[in-house]
Amino acid sequence: MRLPEKTGTAENAKSAKRNVFSASSARAAVAFLWLLDKEWRELLSSRAWWVLLLLIGPLVGVSFIGVVRTYAEASGLNGTAAGVGEAFSPLVGVWAPTFSACELAAAFLLPFVGIRLVSGDKQSGALKIELQHSMSALARIAAKALVLLAGWCLASAAPLVAVILWKMYGGSAYAPELVTIALGHVLNAGLTIALAAATASLTDHPSTAAILTLSVTVGTWILNFIAAVQGGVWERAAGYTPTAMVAEFQHGLIRLDVVLIAIALISTGLALAALWMRLGVPARRRTSESLALAAGATAVVIACTFATPSWDTSENRMNSFPEADETALASIRASLHIEAHLAPEDPRRVDLERRALSKLRRVLPKTTVQYVSATSIGLFEQSAPHYGEIWYDLGGKREMSRLTTAEGVLETIYALADVKPPIENDAEIFRGHPLAVQPKGAAAVFYSIWPALIVAVGFLVRRRHA
């Protein structure tokens, strides 16, 4: 009768192991909750965060009040005929400019909040104490990132107030558009937090971290500028800068590649911060681990660029062709190659890209586009023999057109594919939501009530914690 005894012993051992494991998991969870509590308290005691909260109200207010007035003036002209209805989409007319205040705050205010939270521990000596817990560095940085993101979400109450005011004025708010914009700004804030955490962890002093963070931000603007002039690979890279990413979301477009790349960059920034937080690891090892991380991140980002799905959440389908056209295009099986002889800064190229090709890529992901030009502005190429030509190659059949409108591009493709153009459906045309009201009370809310409320709450909270 020894066997059952042995089994019993093995089971006891397994059970003991399970208990030890669950006890250590519980201890780790408790420690993480304490860390979250500490980071939250540190955020509440951070002047940088209160300044961010204080300023974001007036920043949103300036944008909101301005755009509501402009929207009202345009609406008052009764310009709601088909064809200009797109101008009365609150997405472009109100939300994009209103939420752009968040972009400003994320670029110039949020980094300081993030740097304060990460560098503060180094400066005060708290990091040396906390490092003596076996918690992983990634968990530590995750606690900071979560708290910073929560802090950012609280700051986002300002644009939420704008949405409420707009609804009170009788304006239209299409929920998917608002969710898309909010998602874009949360990802943008995530990028800023990850960047600030990485620079604060890499450097010894907060001011160095701030300079480094702003340098990266300015660097992305330079990249956008170079892309506008040079095109090509620069243009492709610039499509993933925070500014370009936010612009996509502000137009109601969720692109899987953009979301995946943003998540990959956020994860890389936080992982880099975690690597350099480990003061006890030799700098040489941290450097080699950082290089490996950068190489891995580059590979992931490149892989993500091949993800083609995207979702147009705009009410007026501003990122899509009409549904009938999309159905007709989807029936085309042959691969399409477009060669456009237009310089990067030529307005016709911008039109072609925005009005037609960006929509076309969403329906026919295998479409390849090649731009040909000898200069960046195209001004002195106008007399060149092929300048301005757009060549379409569909399954070996070629056609040339100079039209840069969506209708012109579709017409050429249908002709090449022998597809009958669908009949335009008037019911599908977006008529817009004009609203001719003044932004009543908005100035009081954003310029007086919001700052007063933040100062009062800040005073009470800091007094309670002090």
Binding site: A31, K38, R41, G125, P282
Partner: protein, 239 residues
């Protein structure tokens, strides 16, 4: 019996050797004083031991195994000198946080608060405390941690004579409860008051390890007999 054995620990900052082949042992339940003048490498030694600063060579081991820097927090807790962690938070919260985050000794909380006379400053932010008050608060906090060995860098720095004696008594009482203390002290009089054994550190090298009697005998063997048996004289004779 040894709770931690330090072997051949070396740390260089570029051309400067801060610690050179440092070896000594920590015995359970003792108060070990690491004695040395400013710049002798005491803080560097503690930071390397605690794993918050990478050493270039050497090992730290407990009875069973060599402890990697990441594993040392299971045995050692290091309280740095001249820090003001979580400056906006009150002392009461810092003590609770230490117990909660590190899984520390909740049962010792009231006793520690009383011994370090913290009642009057419990609600004061750490950043607003005087140097002495902050030192007392941080020492109290470190006594609540669960690790069996506590390394405290300059525990009496910033304290007046009365406070030094009170803190020394509190630390002694804590050791009686089974904990091991390693204190870095540059004031030899303070060290003599509280420590059982000593490690004499000078220029990054260990010049002697043992009780006062052992160190005195060591000095005599080296032909540098001290004038008397005081720690000061022994230190001067050996360094």
């Amino acid at each position: 019996m040894v709770v931690v054995r330090v072997s051949h620990l070396t740390k260089r900052y570029g051309q400067l050797t801060a610690l050179s082949d440092v070896s000594f042992s920590i015995r359970p339940g003792e108060v070990l004083g690491v004695i040395g003048p400013n710049g002798s490498g005491k803080t560097t030694l503690f930071e390397c031991l605690a794993g918050v600063l990478p050493a270039d060579a050497g090992t730290v081991a407990d009875e069973a195994r060599t402890l990697a820097p990441g594993d040392r927090c299971s045995v050692l807790f290091y309280l740095p000198d001249a820090i003001a962690p979580w400056p906006a938070q009150p002392v009461r919260w810092a003590l609770d946080y230490t117990v909660g985050f590190f899984g520390g000794r909740l049962d010792a909380l009231d006793d520690v608060v009383a011994r370090f006379d913290l009642d009057s400053i419990l609600d004061s932010p750490i950043g607003a405390l005087s140097k002495g008050q902050r030192k007392r608060a941080l020492l109290a906090m470190s006594l609540l941690t669960p690790q069996p060995v506590l390394l405290a860098d300059e525990p009496f720095d910033g304290l007046d004579l009365r406070q030094t004696r009170e803190v020394a008594d509190a630390l002694r009482a804590h050791v009686a409860g089974g904990r091991t203390l390693v204190l870095s002290i540059h004031q030899i009089v303070d060290a003599a008051r509280i420590c059982d054994r000593f490690v004499l550190l000078s220029g990054g090298c260990v010049r002697g390890e043992g009780t006062l009697a052992e160190l005195s005998a060591m000095a005599a063997v080296r032909g540098a007999a001290p004038h008397d048996q005081s720690l000061e004289e022994v230190f001067l004779a050996l360094t």
